[in-house]
């Protein structure tokens, strides 16, 4: 970031931080100041508000200094242009790439991991994510991101409407089976997009191997090596259990 852009950013951050620290101070003012709580005698220095008040106060001063400095160096000028319609319609490459990464991370953590079998969820995240950036072709980046975006929207709707939990109640794999199909379809589709460029074909293969091997390895190592339960255990985890019990009869 150049100095000018930095001051513009400082100007905005300064305002956000001032709002934040004022909110901290307002919320802190509702804490018990001198009345007893939890059977502990209270005087001003015992109050749970003491530390947040100091922090909020200092943060407020620091952010005012930040803002003042930004204004002195001209940071308040030209700051409003960032959200012009023209820039929204044709965002810079930097913005597109950043947005894509954000999409993958958010979809993975907020939607896939909590509700889908860990290995399956990780593949659905890892493969299109790594491929988009490794193959590094704008069309593939865009198409993969659209698939994940669509999937996220559908998942979010199903989860929020309560359809997902009810369906899973009656059949555990109601959504995991379609997702498993998707997990097969995405690489097939991506391979078609790539065509016959040998370098990209090689990159596709490497990504595919890593995207299959690392979730499987992590799942096996954590689940069976270190006995850590996965956030959600579904299709793959149950299959692994089935294989394990096939070789070992419990209760004997």
């Amino acid at each position: 970031m150049n100095k000018e852009a930095m001051r513009r950013a400082d100007f905005k951050t300064g305002i956000i931080l001032i709002v934040l620290s004022v909110l901290v101070l307002v919320e802190t003012s509702t804490f018990p100041m001198t009345d007893s709580y939890g059977g502990v005698q209270n005087v001003w220095y015992v109050s749970p508000a003491l530390f947040p008040l100091i922090i909020g106060g200092v943060l407020l001063v620091l952010s005012v200094v930040l803002l003042a400095n930004a204004i002195r160096e001209g940071g308040h000028r030209g700051g409003a242009g960032t959200l012009s319609p023209r820039r929204l319609l044709s965002p810079s490459e930097h913005t597109v790439r950043f947005g894509t990464i954000l999409l993958y991370l958010l979809a993975y953590v907020y939607l896939f991991v909590p509700y889908v079998d860990f290995a399956l969820a990780t593949f659905l995240f890892l493969f299109p994510f790594a491929l988009s950036f490794y193959v590094d072709r704008p069309d593939i980046l865009k198409k993969m991101a659209l698939i994940i975006l669509g999937l996220s929207v559908i998942m979010a709707v199903l989860l929020l409407s309560g359809v997902w939990p009810r369906a899973v109640e009656s059949f555990e794999y109601a959504f995991e089976i379609p997702l498993a199909v998707l997990a097969i379809a995405v690489p097939v589709y991506a391979r078609r997009l790539i065509g016959d460029d040998p370098l990209l074909a090689r990159r596709f293969l490497i990504t595919l191997i890593v995207a299959i091997a690392s979730p499987l390895f992590l799942f096996l190592a954590f689940r069976y090596g270190l006995r850590v339960q996965m956030p959600h255990e579904g299709l793959v985890a149950d299959a692994a259990e089935a294989i394990r019990y096939f070789f070992r009869t419990p209760g004997a």
Partner: protein, 516 residues
């Protein structure tokens, strides 16, 4: 006499451990696992020891101890790999290593940096071990001098150190990051009165924000985003034949090693804080006492050596209160305490009566573990550097998965994942605006300690600040704090220079030249 006795029985313990091939296998295996755990971002020493505790329940006590201590030593050391190679600290303990380790790697010196940290970690562990055997009664007397006032000053000192890790842009951006971290640390039940602060009725926030997800989010996510957005390749290592211990460089840094090892043992022996803070404090002190502090952050060898020596020396330090009082000196040591109790060993003042030779056995294991760590480190480092040849675009998404599983595994709490990503995105914007991220993490770690102990100290003294100036350890800490603050103020620096000039009889420099 005492020393000779200690050494003889020490030799016997060492021998007893070494004659069993199973023990040696466990030793090497657990150390290796520890290094892997430390090296993978997301998997920490605490998690490693916790998971091994479960796995070693059924095995004999000695074997379990070997496994756990080797894991501990290996993981604290292994953290430096990820810090140096990809600028994502593998553990909180090695976060300070990244500040100079990664710039070294960017210069192609990854191999050299790893060689140095290996030897520094080894020397640190050994130093901690020697103190554990010879000085633990003394250290314990000192640790018992720590009441709430001392704990507060120590936390305050740590926070102060983080403030000196300033931004390249504006000095106070470091302070802003630090105060954001301190604010984050106040979320959750206040530890004195159990009053819920900033929880907004979200029950997941009740217990406060955990350090591991915050750490992974703050360091891991911004790095992943940066590398992918800007098409940054991983740091390219120079071709080199093998990783040398670099005894010459080590000898030149002897001063840093001794000082850092002492800081590490000292911080480790204070109950409640451990490796994570030891690395930072040691790094900060090295920087503040350096004649050329401006080279820190650009690949300064002394910085890497200081933080890595201190975090490993911390192990020996953390074991002192654990064994002699039953109070763990660091988070992994707390796990170790649980593991020992599972094996019917209750550490405390009576341990030598109930389990004669226990401390020496522990020391022997520590020695062997650090030897195994050194040997493995020197052999592995070269192979590990090859990781950098992997395509960053595939490697970074896998790191993201590791951060996710690491945040989740300790506590099996999905909320920690949400927290990690949220912190990560904020941290990305902050780093883009050149805010240093370390003060934020230190704020989260030390905030509760400062908060709780200041208020409790005042509660005990009934509102009086007098004990600050009456208690010897308090006074000592106050002096250190004042000196640190003074070294940061340009006017004081100049005054000091003038004073030394005058004492040495040199002609005072022209005052106008000092104005910058």
């Amino acid at each position: 006499m005492y020393v000779i006795d200690q050494f003889t029985s020490f030799g016997l313990s060492l021998y007893a451990t070494l004659i069993s091939p199973v023990n040696i296998l466990v030793l090497v295996g657990a150390t290796l696992l520890g290094i892997i755990f430390g090296a993978l971002p997301g998997l920490t020493a605490t998690l490693g020891v916790a998971l091994l505790t479960t796995l070693t329940y059924g095995v004999p006590t000695e074997t379990a101890l070997i496994a756990l201590l080797s894991m501990y030593v290996g993981a604290v050391y292994g953290g430096s790999y990820a810090s140096i190679l990809i600028n994502i600290p593998g553990t909180a303990a090695s976060a300070a290593t990244a500040l100079d380790g990664y710039p070294l790697a960017l210069k192609g010196e990854a191999g050299k940096a790893l060689g140095l940290t290996t030897t520094a970690s080894f020397l640190g562990t050994m130093f901690g071990m020697v103190v554990l055997v010879l000085l633990s009664p003394l250290i314990i007397d000192l640790a018992l001098q720590f009441t709430s006032f001392e704990f507060f000053l120590l936390a305050f000192f740590g926070i102060l150190i983080s403030g000196t890790l300033s931004s390249r842009d504006l000095v106070y951006k470091g302070w802003i990051a630090g105060f954001i971290g301190l604010f984050m640390s106040t979320v959750g039940r206040d530890r004195l009165q159990f009053f819920p602060r900033f929880t907004f009725d979200i029950s997941e926030l009740d217990a406060g924000l955990e350090v591991v997800p915050v750490l992974l989010g703050a360091f891991g996510i911004p790095q992943i985003i940066k590398v992918l957005v800007n098409r940054q390749p991983l740091a390219r290592p120079k071709e080199f034949a093998r990783i040398l211990p670099e005894w010459g460089t080590i000898a030149r840094n002897a001063k840093h090693i001794v000082r850092s090892a002492s800081i590490g043992v000292g911080i480790g022996s204070v109950p409640g804080i451990g490796e994570d803070i030891a690395g930072w404090v040691s790094y900060g002190v090295a920087r503040n006492t350096s004649k050329h502090p401006e080279t820190f952050g650009t690949g300064e060898v002394a910085g890497v050596v200081s933080s890595e020596t201190a975090n490993n020396a911390c192990i020996g330090g953390a074991l002192i209160p654990l064994i002699t009082l039953g109070i763990p000196g660091s988070p992994p040591a707390a796990m170790l305490l649980g593991a020992l109790m599972l094996h019917n060993v209750t550490p405390g003042p009576m341990i030598e009566f109930e389990h004669p030779g226990f401390i020496l056995e522990l020391t022997a294991i520590l020695l062997l573990a650090s030897l195994a760590m050194w040997g493995l480190g020197i052999t592995l480092a070269k192979q590990v550097v090859k990781v950098l040849k992997l395509p960053a675009q595939v490697f970074m998404p896998v790191i993201a998965v590791l951060c996710v599983i690491g945040s989740y595994s300790l506590g099996l709490n999905v909320f920690n994942l949400y927290l990690m990503i949220a912190v990560g995105i904020v941290a990305y914007f902050l780093t883009e605006m050149e805010y240093p991220i370390s003060p934020l993490v230190i704020g989260v770690i030390l905030g509760p300690m400062a908060d709780e102990n200041l208020r409790r100290a005042l509660m005990v003294s009934e509102g009086s600040f007098a004990p600050l100036f009456q208690r010897p350890v308090c006074l000592l800490l106050l002096v250190v704090i004042v000196l640190t603050v003074m070294s940061q103020i340009p006017a004081c620096k100049r005054a000091k220079e003038r004073l030394t000039d005058r004492v040495l009889g040199r002609k005072p420099r022209n005052a106008s030249m000092d104005v910058d």
